[in-house]
Amino acid sequence: MYKNHLNPIHCIIPPYMLSKLIESGNKKVADMAVNSKFRSYRFLSDRNFFRAASFYEKTILGAVPKKPAKSTMQMEVYDCRQTTDLTNATLLWDTKNKQRFNSIAGKNVIKGGKASWDFYRDLFGRNSIDNNGLLIKQYVHYDKGMDNAYWDGRRMVYGDGDGVVFTSFTSDIDVIGHELTHGVTENEANLDYENQTGALNESFSDIFGIMIKQRYNNQDVKKSNWLIGEKVLIGINYALRSLKAPGTGYRNHPELGDDPQPAIMDNYQDMPNTESGDWGGVHINSGIPNFAFYVSAFNIGGYSWEKTGRIWYAVLTDSNLAHDAKFVDVKNMTIQHAERLFGINSLEVKAVKQGWLEAKV
């Protein structure tokens, strides 16, 4: 009886009872009681530590389970019926009822949303956008022929495209992953949406968007074409952006002309921090950190999400990533995390340094 009760694996005896057992005069009982008391104190202090630890600290200590038993995706998909009225949109589908419906856009966002949710859960143990099981809300058929998709701080919204230049913005998983990642960023460093910091915000969305697509399609760094929105922009030679060669997503497009993204810091575009200036070129200059990621991932090889993705996720969720971080801050942090994860002289560290070097940051 004593044996089982004193084994800390089977039960934890309150400290006052253990103290009494220690003083009982029976050496065998006292030995077991001291050991039990010692272990239970250690257990309690560990538990207190982990209760207070940040998600990032837990990640470092490997204390974040890869697949927490309780995290299940919660999603709702709404049909705006070609209006801009999000409040009165019709519920098409939710994870509870899994209704049947006909909208291709609706089916696309379920597929893309699930691929994104799985990506963050399976690889990083992240429980949804906020790491706390947030219900994912996606709105399709927004406005008449709207050629855009956006994250409004609470939900993802997709237009059908004009049917001439753009098709539905739900057509590519990377675009859906891009929007969902804006939510992740908002819940982590909450990077400002302007100038270099805004370009980093955009870049994290493109980087995780492309990795989500690559993982869904089981493509390694060589097999992937590294294009964002290759179906959304109509025409076989066109995509919205390229991480492999920023500035070549589309060229000589009859309506859009040339993709304006730079790949290197020498060609950074100083634009006004206004609505019409793309808040200082956040969708333009993101080409630079995008290119640094591509070069790093290509040199590391294999599947981008396995090593390069781990490095970039560690930075995105690092509490030291400031809300106004610049390219050089993310450069330094990716190198630090690569060193921590793979060793100071590792191939991975060299690859990350080479990535930023080629982007001339």
Partner: protein, 86 residues
């Protein structure tokens, strides 16, 4: 007078524009612009679109969700006829 509706921003930043001839009085225009002024404290929408109204040489940001009912048809037409500015 001619009014021009311009849209900027988006997942890839493109500019779209449409214009129409209207018979607004100056007073009516000032009142309309006041009503459809965007909330200055509004959060920046990631990949969001923004609209502005140009009259002559002056330009003002507008929130199309605030357009009063009597102007809905006009703004819908304008919005639907916007073309990409090359």
């Amino acid at each position: 007078m001619k009014i021009k509706l311009i849209r900027t921003g988006g997942f890839i930043p493109i500019t779209k524009m449409a214009e129409v001839e209207v018979n607004f009085t100056d007073k009516e225009l000032v009142r309309l612009i006041e009503v459809i002024k965007p909330d200055p404290s509004a959060q920046r929408i990631k990949d969001g679109n923004y609209y502005q109204l140009n009259v002559g040489t002056s330009s003002t940001p507008v929130d199309l969700e605030k357009v009063p009912e009597e102007y809905n048809e006009l703004f819908s037409k304008l919005k639907n006829s916007m073309k990409i500015v090359k």
